[in-house]
Structure formats: structure tokens, C-alpha cells
Symmetry: none
Subunit: 205 residues, 4 copies
Amino acid sequence: MSPKVSKEHKEQRRANILNAAKDVFIEHGYEHTTMKHIMDAANVSRGGLYQYFLNKEDVFETILEEDLQLNLNELEEVLREKVHSHWDLLLETIYGEERQPNDDMNSLAPSKLEFFITGRNDKRRREFGKARYYNGLKLYSAIIEQGQQKGEFCTKFDSDIIARSIIAFIDGLAFDHSILPKEDLKMKQQSALFRDYLKTILGVE
Amino acid sequence: MSPKVSKEHKEQRRANILNAAKDVFIEHGYEHTTMKHIMDAANVSRGGLYQYFLNKEDVFETILEEDLQLNLNELEEVLREKVHSHWDLLLETIYGEERQPNDDMNSLAPSKLEFFITGRNDKRRREFGKARYYNGLKLYSAIIEQGQQKGEFCTKFDSDIIARSIIAFIDGLAFDHSILPKEDLKMKQQSALFRDYLKTILGVE
Amino acid sequence: MSPKVSKEHKEQRRANILNAAKDVFIEHGYEHTTMKHIMDAANVSRGGLYQYFLNKEDVFETILEEDLQLNLNELEEVLREKVHSHWDLLLETIYGEERQPNDDMNSLAPSKLEFFITGRNDKRRREFGKARYYNGLKLYSAIIEQGQQKGEFCTKFDSDIIARSIIAFIDGLAFDHSILPKEDLKMKQQSALFRDYLKTILGVE
Amino acid sequence: MSPKVSKEHKEQRRANILNAAKDVFIEHGYEHTTMKHIMDAANVSRGGLYQYFLNKEDVFETILEEDLQLNLNELEEVLREKVHSHWDLLLETIYGEERQPNDDMNSLAPSKLEFFITGRNDKRRREFGKARYYNGLKLYSAIIEQGQQKGEFCTKFDSDIIARSIIAFIDGLAFDHSILPKEDLKMKQQSALFRDYLKTILGVE
DNA sequence: AATGAATGAGAATTCATTCAT
DNA sequence: GATGAATGAATTCTCATTCAT
């Protein structure tokens, strides 16, 4: 007895739900999204939704995990290739990623902050937060370390600490951007200053 | 004609509720706190609680406003006095205040982040967030500007932008600290790096 | 030990509360009026209000009773005097009284309807309703009966039944007027028709 | 793809709830009925009830609308058919309908009066009241007008005004009947008088 | 007498999750 | 597998009434 519905179909359906859910999370934020919102956006029944995911948390975690995986892949790819300028790579990594609040507010970033901060007392949620943090840490420190090894960056400061500071600054900007309109933030000028700062401590130019 | 209990008594009770509520918010976070939690912690009946505050948001906003007011008072006081070292004042302001996630996790900071980020789509909440941001901005930029005027800091960078970057970094640290245990953060070393950074762009020493 | 506050003062206070309460009932209706509304309107404290009245029902009943008493006094007075035209007296009684929804909507009539109809399952309330009804009945039938005795009205119909019909019609108009704006009711023309009707069955002219 | 239960089943359940709710409204009146009452009477859970109706008002309005629709259908039907006696039709319409407080007190009429009168300050509620009034008006005036056109009724009075007076009288009777026991009302005799009155102004016989 | 703080019962509403079909 | 009706726990908020001072 072969299954009524092919595995591909299920995968497709699952992916559809995740895409719709992502839009919903972006629109309403994590806390204020309900399973009903997701059902409606994904055009799936209540029961259907629960067939693929245990609950709202499960849906969000799945989206997170896929994002995380993308990051990791990217990192591997990036470091395997011949890197001409680690400085450019670093900037790309910072600015091309959603950790840097880009101009479009169609970003899941605020919901992620929400997810982690509202769940800070929950063991499972904290594990996720840790994974997210160390993932970013690995990404940035790998680039910096390689740059240092290649002699492109100076070794005055520990790559780990620099990476952490990058994360802190990016998270802060993401937070401020989440609650304030772009116009209020002078993002460009802050970014320029931050770039100067990185140049200084990495000994670039 | 005289009231049953003195005005002081009422103020006292109100303050008690706020204190208890603050503890509850610190323990459960903003979203997961219910009025019941506050009632129980403050040892006040449902009706009693609603006599003093409209709803959970009102309770939290009151706490925020008092904190904000403390900040403002402090700022005024600070700037009226003769300042020996604006650099010391700046560090004190950063590290002495809760904006810097201090060692004790008995801080309301995570709940504040939560409050603003979960309410980012709410007009009223955004106004509060804006007030919080500009309040901090005013505080830091006033110190920097005065330091620049006195010739203690160099004027290479705009005080406004530096202040914004300080806020972003502190918010980021607060966020990361909210979701990760202290041990994971190497806070001390990050702070040292940040201090160096500030020294550089302010031309201190 | 004479009382601190004179009896007159108490009476005055009580009357003040009743006046304020009446306005409140007119504005919000019976059901939607709260003790708080009355307190605020009467500028009296919660405890003060409860010193004079048991509850909202008690306040309203007191107002009703005073109205009822006015009616009764009027009736007695009216019937003791020499009546030139019972027809005119009847019209005056109908149109001069609030049972006829007059142009001004500053009438307690809708709240009275509300009071009786929402309380129709309550023994005490029903007794009041009965009193109100029989009071009106007595008023109208007395006039009609006297008119009949004096030969001014024909005796074709029982004065009791005519009086009841007058009440039904007036209550109906009051009800319709309570829920519809005056413009929708063509009150004048309805009244004219009703007057014609009464003339016919009373054999006037 | 097919729903768990048939559409009929859902309709059935909805109808069950409405029936149960109607009984509850008749027993407790509109204001004193709670959603809990309806839940218990309909044997449906809290959530179940809210799946079908938004709130108490919604439940009641649904009942009202269905009644209204019945009325309208009846009217159309009635006027399309060949009418032998418009006088009989008029009487039937008055006495067969709940607008006339019939002997059985199992009528929703008092709750309807309650619904409209307690909601007289509410825009939405007033719209409903208006619809109710004009619906009745249309019904009665259509019959009268047709009777006049056919020469069965005289045209001395405007059909519109007569219809309004019928409504006022019926509403008044309904009100009085709501708050007084039948025995107190001499309904029969009032009705007889009213019939006479109608005969007179319609020129019947 | 007067005050108004405090109480708590009760009503409304939402939403995650289950489960019969 | 899919559906969506049904459940009920959890929460918010209101208000009449009491009572210590």
C-alpha cells in the first residue's frame, strides 16, 4: 500500500506553510501571531497545520533552523573559496545578512529578537538562542581569524572578542531599528562610524 | 471630609504594588506576567489592583516613566555640577545604569526590551520606545558635547552619532545578556574593547 | 447630644443626590447607570451614597415614588376642583404628563420603561410596575367616569377599558419614541388621530 | 477535502443554539441572560458557542433577523395572494403575530422591547430598532393601502398614520403585558375596543 | 456621618489543542 | 491525510458592596 500522497507533495505543502508563516510572523510578530493567522495565510486547515507542526513554537523554530542552516552553508562556502579581501567579506557578511537591519522592514529579525527575549526563561528557547549566538560568533570569528592568519588584519585583539562586539552592535541596531522608524536612527552614519571602528581595531589600511 | 487613609498611605500602597510588579516583571518578563501574578505578589485584590492601574500595560508604563524620570533628573544634576572628567562621567553613566547589563540579572532591562519589541506595531508603545531612545540619546550626547566643548574630547565625530552608537551597543549587549548566561558573553572583555574604542573616537589620552 | 448634622441638611443632601441621579438615569438609562456615575454626578462619596440608599434600585425607586406621589396629588387636586371641561382635563393629563413623550427627550420615561421591563421577573419590581399602572389607570378612569357622570361623555364604553387603552397607547408611543428619533414618528399626526378616536368613543362634540 | 461534518449538521447545531438561546432569552430577558446561560441551555461549550456567534448581542440579533425575515416573507406572500377580506387579513396580522402579546407568555416580545430600549443610546442597536419599526410599518400600511385601493376601507385617514397607531398600540399592549399578569390587563376588552376603533376609522361595515 | 480603599464574584473573550468523521 | 467543530483553561476587566478610619 503506497501512501496516498507523495513525499514530494508533503514537502511542498510543508514548505508552503513555512513561507506563509514567515510572512505572518513578519507582519504580526511572534507573540501576536496565532495559529489561526498561519492557517489562513497558508490556506491550510487547523488539523492540517497540526499535522506538520506541533505548535507555534515548532513552526518558528523550523524557520529559524532553516535560516541557521543557510548561514552555516554560506560560511563553509565562503571559507572554502579563495578570499581576496577578508575586509570586504566581513562587510558583506554584516550588511548582506539580516542581522544588519536593512532598509526593507520585511525582515523576520524583530520577530526573532522577540522570540528569544520572551522565551529567555524557557530552557528549550535558551538553547536555540545560544545556537543562534554561537553560530554568528563562529561566522564572524572565522572570517576575522582567517584574515589575521593571512596578515590582512592585525592581531592586536582577539578575533572572538571582536566577533562578539560585532554581534552586540548588530543586535543593538536591529533592536533599535525594530522599534524606531529608519528616519530616527541615522543608520548610515552609525554604520560608517562602526566601519571606521572596525578598520581601526583590525588595522585595515 | 478627610479621607479614610492618608494620601501617604495610598502612595505607599501604590509604590508597594509597583515594587512587587517590578519583581514579577523581572521574574516572568512582560508578556508572561499576568495581573494575577501582580495581585499575588503585591498581596492586593483584583479590584484593588485595578483601582491603581488600568491594566498591565499601565503598570509597566508607570515603572518605565519613573525610571525615565530618574534618568532625566540625574542628567540635569550631573550637568549642573562641575564635572572633573567627562570621560569618567561617561563611563559611570554607561556602567552604572541598567542600560548596561550589570552582573546582577535582577534587572528589568530584558522586560523593557520585550515590552518595546512585542509592541512595535502599536502606536502608543512606539511613542514610549521613542521617548526611551531619545532620552538616552540626550543623556549621552549631552555629556559628549560638553566634553567636546571643554576640550576634553576631540570633535572629529558628531556627538549625536557617537551617542547613538553607544545606545546601539548597550542595547545589543543587553539583548545578548538577556538570552545568554553571563559566562557565555565575556562581557568584561567586550566592555574593555568598547572602552578602547570610545577612547579612540573621543581622542581621550 | 444633638446630631452633628441637622435633619434639614440630610434632606437637602438626599434631594441633591436624587436630582443628580435623575439626570444620570436620563443620560445613561437604568441598566447602564452605575453607582459610580451617580456618585460623580452628585459629588458624593461612595460611602455617602450608600448611607442614603441601599443600591441603584433603591435610588431609582425613590425617584419613581416621588413622581408617583406627584401624580396622585395632582389627581386629588384636579378632581376636587370644579372642572369646566373634562375633555380638556383629559387632554391636559395626557399631554402634560411625561407618559406622553414630549418633544424634549430630557425625560426619564425611557429609563422607566427599562426599569420595569428588565425587572419583569423580579417580584419587587413587578409590584412597582403594578403600582405605576394602577396609578395611571385610576387617574384616567376617574376623569372619564366623572365626565360620564356629568353627562359630558357618553357611557357607551366602560371608563376602565378606555383608561387602559389610553395607557397602552401612551406606553407604546413612549416606547417607540424612546428608540426612534422624533422625525421618524409623525407624532403630531398620530396624536391627532388618537384625539379623534377618543372623541368618538367618548361621544364628545 | 470534505468537511468533517456536513453543512447540514452545522446548520442544525446553529439552529439548536438559537432555539436554546431563544428559550433562555424568554426566561431571563435580554439583559440578564449571560453567555453561560446559553451555553448550558444549548449544551455547548464556551468555545463552541463563540464559534457560531460573536457575543450575546450577535445571538439576539440573529434571532431578530430571522423573525424579521419571516415577517417580510409573510407580507409578500400575503399581498401576492388574492385577498378576500383585508379586514380579516389585518386582524390576523395583528393577532396572529407576536407583536400582539398573545396569551402564552412564551414570547420573545418582552426581551425584544428590552433589547431596543436598553440599547437606545447605541448606534447599531438603534438601526435595528428602526428596521423593526419600519418593517412593521410596511406590513400594516401595505395591507391598509391595498384595502383602500380595493374600496374595502375608506380613505379618510392616511394608511401610514393608521399603521403607526396600530404599532404604537400593540407595542404599548406588549409592554404592559410584559410587566403585568394577564389578569390585570383585561386584554380581551381592550382588544375589542381597539377593533371597534379600527373599524370606525377604516370605515368597515 | 462621611470617606474612599479594598474586596471578590461574575461576565466576556481568546486561543491552543484535541478528535470524531 | 485532511478537516474543522468542539473543548475548556486562562485571562481580562467591571462593579456592587463592605468596612476600617
